[in-house]
Symmetry: C2
Amino acid sequence: MSVSLRDIAKAAQVSEATASLSLNGRKGVNDKTRQKVIETAKKLGYVSNGNARSLARKKSGLIGVMIPNISNLFYSNLVRHIERALRDMGYKMILVTTESNINYEKEMIRHFVSFRVEGAIIYPSIKQNNNPEYINLLKQNGIPMVFIGNYYPEIDAPHVMSDLYKGVKEAVDYLFITGCRHFYYLGGCKSIISNQMKLNAIRDYLADRGIEFPDDHYLLLEHTRYENAFIRMDDLLSSGKKVDAVIAADAFSSLAVFNVFQKKGVKVPEEASIISFDNLLYPDVCVTRLSCIEQDLGSIVNCTMQNLQAMIQDGSKGVSHLSPTKLILRDTTKQYLAAEKK
Amino acid sequence: MSVSLRDIAKAAQVSEATASLSLNGRKGVNDKTRQKVIETAKKLGYVSNGNARSLARKKSGLIGVMIPNISNLFYSNLVRHIERALRDMGYKMILVTTESNINYEKEMIRHFVSFRVEGAIIYPSIKQNNNPEYINLLKQNGIPMVFIGNYYPEIDAPHVMSDLYKGVKEAVDYLFITGCRHFYYLGGCKSIISNQMKLNAIRDYLADRGIEFPDDHYLLLEHTRYENAFIRMDDLLSSGKKVDAVIAADAFSSLAVFNVFQKKGVKVPEEASIISFDNLLYPDVCVTRLSCIEQDLGSIVNCTMQNLQAMIQDGSKGVSHLSPTKLILRDTTKQYLAAEKK
DNA sequence: TTGTAAGCGTTATCAC
DNA sequence: GTGATAACGCTTACAA
């Protein structure tokens, strides 16, 4: 059905070898013959078989990218950055999603190995993953990988992500300074490192101030969706608990929190502050202009790529990196007036 | 570096042939030997080489999916649906984006052909694409493809997308009935079929009512982003034009329109209505609860898959399909009271 | 500069 | 039931 190298070799009356050399722009072939080959290839609509090429070259030109799910602004923006970088580097991307399902994650790792990707970028998201050993399949097959956004501490691979600990501490500090004392965190499972970092930041900061951060101030969201966050928050306020600061995992849950405050007649930011993560929704589009902890996707992806390239080329081990975040203050936090502090 | 079939054949003391048969669960091999092979395969961490397999089988098990860009709620939701369907069908997905760049689109078509995908799902987005001939590369290589969401009329392939013409007519009808007379459309280039369908719907409906829809009521958005929409709309209102109905291409541009109305002191929906597309942002998250034309991603993807499967299996030609949309009325349109109509 | 031929890791067709 | 062996389409020494 499709035309092969042999076909174009025949048509151009050369050997397959010279045909190959010509088309791959390698030297050692007469310009005339090269031209002839290239022309007949174009004429016959030849497209080299990537599978055969990968097999023969022992190089696929592919990089595997694994994320939890694609219809999430954070991941899809991350992917966009990755994709551009990969394009610049001359790689093709194999993007897969796991839906945070360990079986899919395993399957996709095998997929990567099967197609012999030259490197893998993995956003891990399995909670309670006691045995992420399967990821070592990559290493066993000599495939460099770097964790992005999160990591499995049991696996020996570099990770690059935001410095969430520092970022959250900064946020909590701001909240504290502007008078908040009753902190809540609304987010994913703490067996996921990135959530752990956030929680620890809150706990540590408050501990330093002699304030307790009780377990029930951590509102676990099975899935960080608007509805879930709304219900969780509604329950909390209905219980009569005092809440004057909420850090929520993403824009949608933050907005749910805001809406619950509205519903309950709690004034934001006067009586309660909210700080969100990411800065991916236009602030003017939302019911309120969220204050948030912005992550530097560009820098994260950059560093990931540098790592990957070094690992692929020099067999380097790679080095983990924490990217600084940026606290963006908008309408869900009080203004900080230095004068007021005194 | 990685273990091959030969390795496990040796280790299990069988021929490569029986090893292959055993691992692929094909009959004609003794249960005992099969077990032995499977075990040694597991022990050695064998993962079959997909490139070699594709080559030998002349089947890749891959489906190519091409979309304009990934960090867009509409596309990423579409992809999520596609991905699930593909998973159920036992295919792996190769997802690529074009950034609406014709060179990337060409490159990615070659990529698909190169890796011999068994089918392609393509969301075309090149405006002024006078010569989409390159897409026929797929057909030349016997790769079935179906357009999704949009199509190039010059290319002979089935398309499945929303019945935008009907959907927009319905929306315009509602707006008309609730008193709107000064319609504007805010969206992408009309050389893209899907936009054309929307524009024609407005024009045709109004023509039937003896109302003109002048060219300058079509506000072209180079990129449908919040800022662009805001500026376009701001200019329009500043010019003093009377505007009482806007149909905008997506939630973000619709919200920009809303914000401009607010800024100019125009009351929505009393003095002006807005209808958006898609229903992908939680309404409660936005500055206003948008009325919108919802597309049925599930049905679109379903039909696409059926087409693809039929084309792959029976060599069927496939059949185009327009999926019904659903008009969702919320806070940016007036309420329609039957009594009022009289 | 060109061609021959051996591989790459599978699957598939045969004999045995 | 099992094992040679020839594909699959390409790259790459090595010869010519």
